[in-house]
């Protein structure tokens, strides 16, 4: 089999030359040689983060695929940018990696802001004085004195210490978590040896993990997988039910997600099996139910009023206690939660947004099955969870789907309806941003009443273009709008139904009312709110103006929306890289008040009042 030469150029590094067999994927080749380009989707072509510039390699340079085009600007295409995961090697290549990969003591990540590196974990190399009769200091105290930390070595480390010390000629390295010694290793290790941590965003649907080098702050690798608990329920409530209906259900769900974590750890260690033992910390965020299930804690009391979790403060297990296969003495740190329905993912998103550091008041909205909303500033934060239903995630929408290639992500209704799809693939369904777009455009075009009732073709006057009228039809007896058809090249005919509109209506009303109740409770006007942070992939795609038009977002915030991407993951990374940010997460919890909406009559009134599209 023929092979080709890949030359890698990167600011501040010597050029590197690799050899790769023909047909291999460029992204995989770079990973295997330790050149870790960012890829939250794990090389699946979904995130567009693995952009590389190809400066030499004429064929490859001109081979940009359709699937890449939604992630690349025209300028980038012209300059030779490609997504590494979409490039199959078929000639010699010279590629340029961005400087960001050679990290500094900073992270920059989707949604997060830069964090000065101050990890809980450190490795110190010690050269101790050799014992003599005049200095009979015992082994344990000898090390503790050198560390300046009396009492820092736990008894479980005592028995190995005499050999460690003498094998290494009284030179050893200590891994510390703050002032607690986690490991003592004989002479050979140096402070430059790896020390790693993992930040995990544990979602109901998806698990995303980030491997970080704690000595440089660099992100080395990412991992994304579906949450394997899904086989026992798509949403949190059905997972809770599973624990109630099956005697071993709770431990089964815990084992499933722990096993997936171990797959992630194995994946991160695939090149160097020793790496796993140098991972000493894992910071996890997720909604309160996912956090409980990972810890193996009962969730049944969260499901019923008064909705009581076992724990919401931050806590830490030893890795061995949860069977997670990083260093057995490593720390599994759960970031704090607020309540049963406002979890550590929201706390992490608040952390990533910087909302809690500012004097001015901002809003944060994380849209998922529940819409978690936070309103506040450095003084005080109010939060609530609006049971929005998963309309904006594409679920419960007849032709709904996630933000994957082929999803319709934006529509435009003028003479006729036009749409775009993710990756410019043939349309396969409707994702959340198109749900917003569709409802907004339907109102605007006069095809829908403000009550949410879809008009029939008969009701429309002659001024309406015929192609539009032709789209109004019935599906299974209910009024619907044909969004795409096979005739246009879609995979199948795709409709947006009256029922879909009702789902959307409930979701937007819940979120809209949630925002208004927080404003009321804080006794401020919307005009006093500086910024609206939108967390989640959804926030990257929607048109804020359309979200305003359907009443999902307040009109006054139309120009103040800042999408922060995966704020949960970014916040988790920040807490991993800096104890200060872990502490800030605790402070966020401390200053946050949770407002229960399910029993709040003012919320019910606002909800009803928010149902109309106007």
């Amino acid at each position: 089999m023929s092979s080709y030469t890949i030359t890698i150029q990167q600011p501040n590094r010597q050029p590197q030359t690799l050899t790769a067999p023909a047909g291999q994927n460029l992204f995989s080749v770079l990973r295997e040689h330790g050149r870790l380009v960012p890829s939250p989707c794990g090389g699946k072509g979904l995130c567009g983060k693995c952009k590389v510039k190809i400066s030499h390699g004429p064929q490859t340079l001109n081979a940009t695929l359709e699937s890449e085009s939604s992630f690349l600007s025209v300028e980038e295409v012209k300059a030779g940018y490609r997504l590494a995961c979409r490039v199959s090697i078929s000639e010699d290549l010279t590629i340029e990696l961005p400087a960001a990969e050679t990290g500094t003591a900073q992270i920059m990540s989707e949604g997060g802001h830069n964090v000065p590196l101050n990890p809980l974990l450190t490795r110190r190399v010690l050269q101790l004085p050799t014992p003599v009769v005049k200095d009979q200091t015992a082994d344990v105290e000898r090390v503790e004195q050198a560390l300046g930390l009396p009492g820092s070595i736990k008894p479980e480390l005592f028995s190995a210490l005499p050999t460690t010390l003498r094998d290494g000629g009284f030179r050893l390295s200590a891994v510390l978590a703050g002032e607690e010694v986690l490991a003592l290793e004989a002479g050979t290790k140096s402070a430059a040896d790896g020390l790693y941590g993992i930040a995990v965003d544990l979602g109901t649907t998806t698990i995303v993990g980030y491997l970080l080098d704690l000595t440089t702050g660099r992100q080395l690798d990412t991992y994304a997988a579906l949450n394997p608990q899904q086989r026992h329920g798509a949403d949190v409530i059905s997972r809770i039910d599973y624990t109630l209906e099956h005697e071993q259900g709770l431990s089964e769900l815990a084992q499933l997600v722990r096993a997936e974590f171990n797959k992630m750890i194995a994946y991160f260690s695939r090149k160097d099996p020793a790496l796993a033992s140098n991972i000493y910390q894992l910071v996890v965020v997720g909604n309160t139910i996912m956090m409980h299930l990972l810890a193996g804690l009962e969730v049944k009391n969260i499901a019923v009023s008064p909705f009581i979790p076992v724990v919401t403060r931050d806590f830490t297990y030893q890795a061995a206690e949860l069977g997670l296969e990083i260093n057995p003495r490593g720390k599994i740190m759960f970031l704090p939660m607020i309540s049963g329905y406002v979890g550590a993912d929201t706390v992490a998103a608040i952390l990533a947004s910087n909302l809690a550091e500012q004097a001015e008041i901002s809003l944060l909205l994380a849209i998922g099955p529940n819409g978690e909303i936070a309103l506040g500033n450095r003084e005080r934060i109010l939060t609530c969870s609006a049971a929005a239903g998963p309309a904006f995630e594409g679920a419960k929408i007849r032709y709904g789907m996630g933000g994957l290639p082929g999803a319709i992500n934006r529509v435009q209704i003028e003479e006729d309806l036009t749409y775009t799809t993710i990756g410019e693939k043939p349309a396969r369904g409707i994702c959340g941003s198109a749900v917003v777009s569709l409802t907004a455009q339907l109102v605007k075009a006069g095809l829908m009443e403000s009550s949410g009732r879809l008009k029939t073709a008969d009701e429309l006057g002659d001024e309406y273009p015929a192609p539009l009228k032709a789209r109004l039809c019935k599906v299974d007896g209910q009024p619907a709008l044909r969004v795409a058809s096979q005739a246009d090249g879609a995979v199948e005919d795709i409709y947006f139904t009256q029922q879909d509109i009702r789902e959307t209506q409930l979701a937007k009303a819940a979120i809209g009312a949630g925002i208004r109740i927080l404003l009321q409770e804080m006794a401020i006007s919307i005009t006093e709110v500086k910024t609206l942070y939108l967390a989640g992939g959804f926030g990257n795609y929607i048109d804020p103006q359309e979200a305003v038009e359907i009443g999902l977002l307040p009109r006054e915030m139309a120009d103040k929306v800042i999408p922060i991407g995966n704020g949960a993951g970014a916040g988790a990374k920040m807490a991993l890289l800096s104890q200060d940010y872990h502490e800030k997460a605790r402070q966020i919890r401390a200053k946050t008040t949770y407002l229960e909406l399910s029993t709040n009559s003012a919320f019910q009134d606002l909800f009803v009042d928010s149902l109309e599209f106007r």
Copy 2:
């Protein structure tokens, strides 16, 4: 089988009436009914602590055994006192127990001084507010708030908590070690329920344990057993050798002593198996090697210069980590040590003696295989270990034995040699106090030169009584003195040999020189020393005057000797009953400087200079 009625009277308690079968042992009957009379020897007739007054029971009253007489004064015998463990029940009895058994919040124990009760362990009963929608505080935080101790519940307790809380109607009891929650139990337990701790003096030869009620400070029970490690070596050095010569030797020795601890725990729980789970703390003292072997820590580096232990500071294991069968989350607390050859037993004895609290300087001497000596006051303590050999424990003495019934414990040489034995039993051997007594009397009577050479009958003038001369003989070719003979009623002929004198000489010279080197190092004169505390059973029997005469103790201290009995055990109990005393033990370690004698040339000179008997 006939049975008898035992009526128990005790100050401040209702009289109690028991029924016991004929022939049963009174001590056992009292124990089985929870009337726990003190008995460090565990009912073996060796300690004399289980004195009870029999006020009605004519036969029993007059049946005092010879074995009891050494523990009872004439007045006590007349008043009806007996040792409960020597009484076989053969009639109805009325007995009076001393008030001490119904404890106050104080202990008084052999050698220790009174300690205001302030245990690390406490049990608190909480009635929590029931969760409502307006108060969705999570379970963990709900308990921590009630305790006023945020973060006090470890994650390992989380998973049982929801059930504990709801089973008990949000009433629960918490067992705390300081500010750390060790256990959470549903509603039924109350603060009055038992909470127990064990103090252990872990000796090379003997293990003595004390069961204490941590809510009252009362001593409830005692346990004494031989250290089962003895099968692998009588002294610490041969145990260290065992760990070097057998691959599993270290863990084997650890397992042996842990198994004996578990026997003790089972013994303490024999009436109430639930008791073991309410024992949450075990404080252990012992020499540094015994402490290491219990913890399973390597001892080989203590055996060779520069004599380095793994650890000397105080440390704590979870019971489950050592396989000790108190509550699995209970704390096994090792009191601090000073060096490889000055252990936690010495620290505990210093604690019990109060030496470290006083302005004036005192000496403390614990005589065992090594003579541990401490000199100091509340400012500063110097300590050393004089390799005395076990002469004063009766070992390495040809006819030596421990302080058991039949041991010759004192001699008198005038016209002839007379002696007394422990328990007035037929003589079986010579114990440590008689070794002191014999050497002192031999010098005084002129039968031995000050060099330690035993004279022969031929060398003695006519002024020496014939019976004495007749005692000077040879045993296996070496000069010896016949101390007892079968003709006098001894079990066998008993000799004190020239070799025995040499052993004694080395021992007393090592201790004598050790005391002098500490005085030199502290730059004070012996006249400035206020008190000489003598720790160990030995100290209760010897005649300080004789100890002075042979140069074991300084002449100036003859009238200043205070025997403190088992100071190690007393100190362990004090640390168990009061965190303040545990802290004092740490302070003793911090202010103590260890002086290594084995390489100290000034000590060698003083040692040689101390060899003569003068």
